[in-house]
Symmetry: D2
């Protein structure tokens, strides 16, 4: 029997995390602060990187779920965690998946 | 003999415009205000449209050549002209080509 | 007796519009398309104008209520209407007020 | 006799740095990587923070001088250094001053 689907804003339990991270293959898990996931995204230049950041900012504001993120020229690093549950929640998994889909655009044609 | 390449900030003459517009096939020429070109870009949603706008804004500021542009949800319309020469210049042609290349990213994967 | 407060996504009736527009003094009403309101915002330069646009884009995406807007260098024009009700709704009034509050920042120190 | 004004893309010498940092009072100097300066900016919310980031992105692209920066909700941290000279240059000082002037807008009316 599979584990029941966790609620959006509930802290994910260890057995869910392993399973869910299989859907976010580019993301690295860290046990810091109860659990975070991080991915670095590469772009052709700053302009592309900031276009992606603008899209991510809109995602974040709409969901009221804001990343810890940094940028240097053509690199954007995003770290996700759910402060309210002191760890990872489904909000982070869904955000990671949407960021991945958004990045697919830029990744396909990096020049 | 082909016409010499026009200077970046010089007003394009009629014979150049026809030739150059062949490189900007999506753009429509209008004789308004000495000459303008316009293109409408379609996106999957507002988020993609604004990601594109952020990239275009960076292009504009870097070149100090700013478009007349409008947006409604998933549509962005850009009109180019060079105010200083009261018509089209190579600045507009180059801007159009760079906007087209930027859009190619989004156009390829519209969902 | 004052008129009851209209629902967020209901079409505003004429008697509400006059009253509500007093709260949006910079906005011009037009009967086009069942009713729209428009305001032009001026900035020190393109950079400020686009900073404002980024804030407005986040507002729009969060509320799922998107403006018709245009920009030329240091000017941003915003037109609001509620397509679903074929006219103005409280969504437009609230959006206008939030845009005004956002603009107050830039207006205070235009250089 | 005062020291001569350093060139824009030259590595600043120790005696210049002390003097110039007096013009960037909010910035903290670190000797890391030959010299960096860092400042954290606080905003009312994510929306204001991202409006500021959009302005900073335009500054960076125009000058072809890109910061290392990060954001979490209403906080933006900017670190400046000039990679080409392995330390601080006048590009960093000028960028810091322009970021400060841009921030003055938001700082004045933080709500």
């Amino acid at each position: 029997m599979t584990a029941p689907v966790p609620q959006l804003a509930t802290r994910l339990r260890a057995e869910h995390i392993d399973e869910l991270l299989l859907k976010c293959t580019g993301w690295a898990y860290s046990p810091d602060r109860g659990g975070t996931i991080t991915r670095e995204f590469l772009f052709a230049d700053f302009r592309q990187a900031f276009g992606f950041m603008a899209q991510v900012a809109l995602m974040a504001e709409k969901r009221n779920h804001h990343p810890e993120w940094s940028n240097l020229y053509n690199r954007v690093s995003i770290t996700l965690t759910t402060h309210d549950v002191s760890g990872l929640s489904m909000k982070d998994i869904k955000f990671a998946q949407l960021a991945d889909r958004t990045y697919a655009l830029y990744d396909a044609q990096p020049a």
